[in-house]
Symmetry: C2
Subunit: 407 residues, 2 copies
Amino acid sequence: MKKITAELIAIGSELLGPSKTDTNSLYVTKQLNKIGIEVGYKTVVGDHRDNLKNAFQTALSRTDIIISTGGLGPTEDDFTKDIIAELCGVKLKLNEEILKNLKDRFAKRGIEFPENSKKMALIPENATAIPNGPGAAPGIYIECRGKTIILLPGVPREMQFMVENFVIEKLNEKYKLPKKFSITMNFASIPEAVIDNTLKELPFNKHQIEYAILASLRKVQVILSGYNEKKVSDFSEKVISHFPEAFFGYGDIFLENAVLDLLTEKNKTVSFAESCTGGWLGKLITDIPGSSKAFLGGIVSYSNEAKINILKVPKETIEKFGAVSPQTAFFMANNVRKIFNSDFGVGITGVAGPSQSEKKPAGLVYIAACSNEKTIVKKYNFRGNRDMVRQQSTSRAFDLLRREFLK
Amino acid sequence: MKKITAELIAIGSELLGPSKTDTNSLYVTKQLNKIGIEVGYKTVVGDHRDNLKNAFQTALSRTDIIISTGGLGPTEDDFTKDIIAELCGVKLKLNEEILKNLKDRFAKRGIEFPENSKKMALIPENATAIPNGPGAAPGIYIECRGKTIILLPGVPREMQFMVENFVIEKLNEKYKLPKKFSITMNFASIPEAVIDNTLKELPFNKHQIEYAILASLRKVQVILSGYNEKKVSDFSEKVISHFPEAFFGYGDIFLENAVLDLLTEKNKTVSFAESCTGGWLGKLITDIPGSSKAFLGGIVSYSNEAKINILKVPKETIEKFGAVSPQTAFFMANNVRKIFNSDFGVGITGVAGPSQSEKKPAGLVYIAACSNEKTIVKKYNFRGNRDMVRQQSTSRAFDLLRREFLK
């Protein structure tokens, strides 16, 4: 089977500065990968005619499909369509239907049609205009020099609308690629290397199933793909059977989604007492709409006084064992549970760094989770900088609650 | 003056997948811009010999300076140096000094020197090896075909070390570019368009001063640059004089940094009562090391019971005006201040969405800030999705405290 590859061109001078990366390409790549097309190159180019022409010429010389994002608006520095017409040896023609649509669009909003917006209705001969659902400028689909060129707008929702409603179907039709199935699995509190080694040892046909592992401080994702749906599905179950405790769900979810779903399903509530994470645990669970069904609230006890006066951690405990201690974590979890009258409580206390002491190094974190029946306190030595220590603390806290109280 | 442009090539198949963008290029761009070099193209290419060669050939044909990141390690699919030697018509030679350094490095760690790591000591003839402070593989600097090619590792801290300690000086020396000065200013609670319009109307010489505006939900950054330090500095003062209230500091800082600095400077403390932001405000201030000097803690009152029982918002207030009301925000700020015995208190209550009601639409947020002398409550109607509403709530809360209590 011949491999079909694509080159993605992101157009916009702002993408060549020091602060903005092209993220449209991630979405396009994901959709292309699903239908078996791989990305061979990505190019970012500014709004300069010569450079833009160079980028398209280069892409035409080395890939089958070229998809650009950006450079389709009515402003002066948008001339992508001119360049494509030139490279394909065709002329730009005013498309009356598109012009009518554009004019209607402006009329509906009670805005006079600006003369320079007429440009948006220019389409290279032999090209197809791609309807733009949420926006004005249409996309362009054209086959020339044996290649496929697709011009999309840079605005993410307009670009995504066109990919979903036109591009994928059209490419599928033209290249008749077999449908690829993929399953994403999420694992927590397990090193990437352990999963990697197991996958390497599992017997499977590499021509039938491909896998990718994406690890972050929040989770390890395993993405399986292949053309035989049943084989991919069976293999995913085999993988999970090796790490049943670490597996927390399918798809693009995080631990807080899994925890919230389990809490909601069991009709249980939770509250948090946070020290070194400073409110991050609460921020994460409240990222999710509807979290108020299970999350009652929390106390950020960033000072010893707050731990003693508000969370009612005994003063002697802090004096004897320190604020960063299993004893303090124990009281934090249990007392926040009582204060909020929730089913479960979670407490986190640790040294986020960079400042630390010999006895309490940066990365030392105690996490406690409790119900009215039991409390589990765990000690962790996280690696990395302040942000990494705090990030890992939140993941492990959610996972402790999930593994010990919600399964 | 001839413009010198660079092409950045990011090497790594993982950068062509659906989940990882090249961010090394942002750092490199920032450093290059400082010395007056602009980036003309960015290319991402996988670990395939032919594609990699194509990428370098293309870059050689269209830019002055080529800087690659990645593809320098000892693994099989790293062959960047081979390709450069081929394109420059030179041979790779074993550099004994580098080999010795590598062997010493492994010996110090008590690890046997792996044979395939010898590859890292291969350097194209006529090339300079760039010392790698934190890592093993050296970078490569070579001039050929009238162009400059620089190969850097993909690991950010190794790459950054080389740029800081070698690349910038070397490029400065070769291209004798005049030093460019730049000043970054941060503004809050002001629309980007207002600043943009003012800048457009201010009289200044566009050949002497360039400006860029970068807006996010957290702040608006204005970056001025030019070759005459005094002119850039004078102009920055003029810009600030138009928005003295909105200006909160220079450099790469956020509002929480400005707030924490002001609190520390005045030896004052603060505590937060958060509803719709769920702990995010606390998370942000505790991102900063040393925040415990001024931040005592907070209460996340995500349920009405928590607002009534823990924050002591009068039940009648919530029944009469609702949880999302200026009255509730008032009590949240004042009571959290009393509970934590801090100098200032901040309260946030609002509808983050997507669920909403006719009377309380998504985006409606009340923020209160108080000392023991006064309380200020403000109403906001934020646009955007849940994440955007919450993000704007945190920025406006910090800014309310800054403007009304800390200036």
